[in-house]
Amino acid sequence: MKPPAPQARGWLLPRHELALLAAIVVVFVGTGFLDPNGTYFNAWAESRDIILRNTALLGIIALGASVVIISGGIDLSAGSMVAMSGTTCALIMLLFAEGDDRRLVTVGSLGIAAGVGGALLSGLLVGTLHTWLITSIRLPPFVATLATLVGLRSFARAMCVFVTRERWGSESQQIQVNTPAFVWLKEHNVVISAVVFLALALLTWLILSRTVLGRHLYALGGNEQAARLSGIRTENVKWFAYCFGSLTAALAGIFLMADSSVAQPNAAGRNYELNAIAAAVVGGCSLQGGVGTVSGTVLGALFLRLVIDAVSKLIKASADIYEGMIVGIIVALAVTLTQFGQLVQAGGRLFPGLRGLAAIPTIAVFAGLLSMMGSANVEALRGRTVPFGSAVGLAVLLLLSAVRWLEGRRTA
């Protein structure tokens, strides 16, 4: 599954993917049994649909992010591309709707085709713009896509306001999309987006591991100068990578719009780019380029969504408050774990010197506060959140201090 991988291979799947798979099973089973409401048993269909839909949406973007990252670049603009694509699709359909139809019910199949085609085309255009900025103007990928991250969302909002004013005579920041085809898509969203995600994963795998283009992507990410001197048209390979990145985001944008029945350039897809990059990194992509697999990214996306889902079930808090923290902790943990072996082998320490000493109370305070906030949602601990949080903080403090002490003895 990973063609150019000199690292250890397991049976069928490389070791990293196996570890992820094991982690997924653990989280899944753990959530199933620890959830006081037993949601996975009582309302399995509903839980399954939420997980599938969210994983597919994240995974589609993460596949694009992986290709860009493997080629040695980065695409920060995916979230804005999601908004841009949904808005483009809705606005084009609006032009095909009857004049006073503000819910886009009257859009025919021609209008739908034009809308979807236009949305995907906007992805191609943005990808091309990125490639031009990066290869011709020689902007670093981080800067070029940071510019579009900020710029595209604003552009989509301006477009939305402009078109609605011209068409309806009154400005609107969002567009209702109740076109029958999209309503149907919404009703079957879980199955369709999951199938599209898997098909796209298969296609991406085929490209990355079985085509010349895929090999060139790995070569470009591994050593750009050597790739050029080997006769690879590196600019064209980059063009593919950035277009693929923007196209997947555009595709996800259409699904998101269909799912919410509204194109909201202001809110749609915010922070999706970071989650997608996180999924790719958790899945084993190296931000240095040249390393990464489709199977890893798929499992990374699934793992991220499962953990977010688990937390929302276990502490009954709204998932979006905790989502950022979860993603942050998982990314740091996943990369730490993959490097842990090297760290220990090189005789490195987790908490060396003064820095290490300062890190221990920091982590303990975070852990304590988190458990305090989390315990507020647990029946048995209600009213005792402060002592509980303090106890956890203290325990972490003692545990890490012990780790540091043991490390000191080992290396002394």
């Binding site: 150019p4 990410g221 050593n223 001197l229 290396t411």
Partner: protein, 502 residues
Amino acid sequence: MEPIIAIRGVCKRFPGVVALADVGFELAPGECHAICGENGAGKSTLMKILSGVITDYDGEIRLRGAPVRFSRTRDAERAGIAIIHQELNLVEQLSAAANIFLGREQRTPLGFIDNAAMERAAGELLAGLECPIDPRIPAGTLRVGDQQLVEIAKALSLRTDILIMDEPTSALTEAEVARLYRVIERLRARGTTILYISHKMDEVFRLADRITVRRAGRHVRPVDRTSTTPREITGWMVGRDIAGHEFHGARRRGERLLEVRGLTLPWPEHPRGYRLADVSLDLHSGEILGVAGLRGAGRTELLETIFGASPPTWSGTILLDGQSVRFSHPREACAARIAMVTEDRKRLGLFPDLDVAANVSLCSLADTLRGGLVSRAREEALVAGPIRSTGVKTQGPHAAITGLSGGNQQKCIISRWLLTHPRILLLDDPTRGIDVGAKAELYQLIDRLCRDGLGVILTSSELPELLTLADRIIVLAEGRLTAEMTRDEATEQRIMEAATTL
């Protein structure tokens, strides 16, 4: 006299490999001790232990009689040991002075950084090393030789009395080498002990008091310089006597492949104004054309321009089989069956994340397709041929390329290009950083390819290499062609004269 460093029974194992086995030797205070050995003989591992980079090893190191164990590089610095690495360790954006005092910045009484004092001190240190540069200019803009002296100045400011130098002349011009020799003499006069790692015999025999030869992780023996010969040392290094190779007999020169006339490559940002000026050459099939010249003379630029890898601003004509060509991308040169093995393997040739097979097949993936997709089986079959014929020693096609020795990596890159069925092979300093044994194998390979009818252009920073391999030699000096000679006319003396005439 008590040794300043005594190493006893030091072993270092990496998973699956013993990098150092039972190393033991002593350095006497003030001596210059050379370590010679093929690449992969454990020299760098030994250095990493001595500088505190590798901390888990077996055995004992005694410094001035007391056992020491460095747990980080700072410890080694404090103990007075400094290393000048082959790849220099400077922050290119910072000034020379800031680099010298990096991590030990001097401060004003108010606690602010005292640039003036550091620049003054750096200037004095550098002046003492015959390096009259302005300590305020960024290290990245200095010539390699000057950068190296900045590192030596840094070592001196650390009150170093043991200086380890790893192939310090590999990137220097002749004049810079001569200056480095004088600096080393001066350091020795101050009592600095020097551990000098090199596989260039003339340097070793010029500088060292004693020589230790290492082979495959083991010491062969330490000897006094006066009691041995370069030939004996190289024999120990490769474990056999290498006879001087004589290849140029009975090569059959064929039709003219390549004709370069009046090639000029401008260099706007440089006072000289050009990288190449009015260079002309001919290449026939079945011959090796050697390109001699000092570093910066334009050897690489000449090959890159032919290969379509230089800026498209060049003028002049390049005729391939009598047809004028002007490649704007290496891809077009590949299509015209020209191949180029680049100078800096790590930076410009290798793909560290790809395995051996993928590194070799990269330019000929079109031959591995089955139904439009890359077939792993076909790929393995394809690369097996050149891997065998060039003699790459690897555990298999899916081994990590980074696990191979420099010589085997280079053979992989040559294999990559052989798969494109080239008629013209451009080799840019192909044996740089490769040990003696592997060099001999590469020479035989290059000779065989030439006899198979390839036209080869070979640049080298080592004159004996050109004299061994080339049928004709052209000499570049500061971008100009200053001599062309047949092999029978060529001597090191004549080439060096042409390379230094302007």
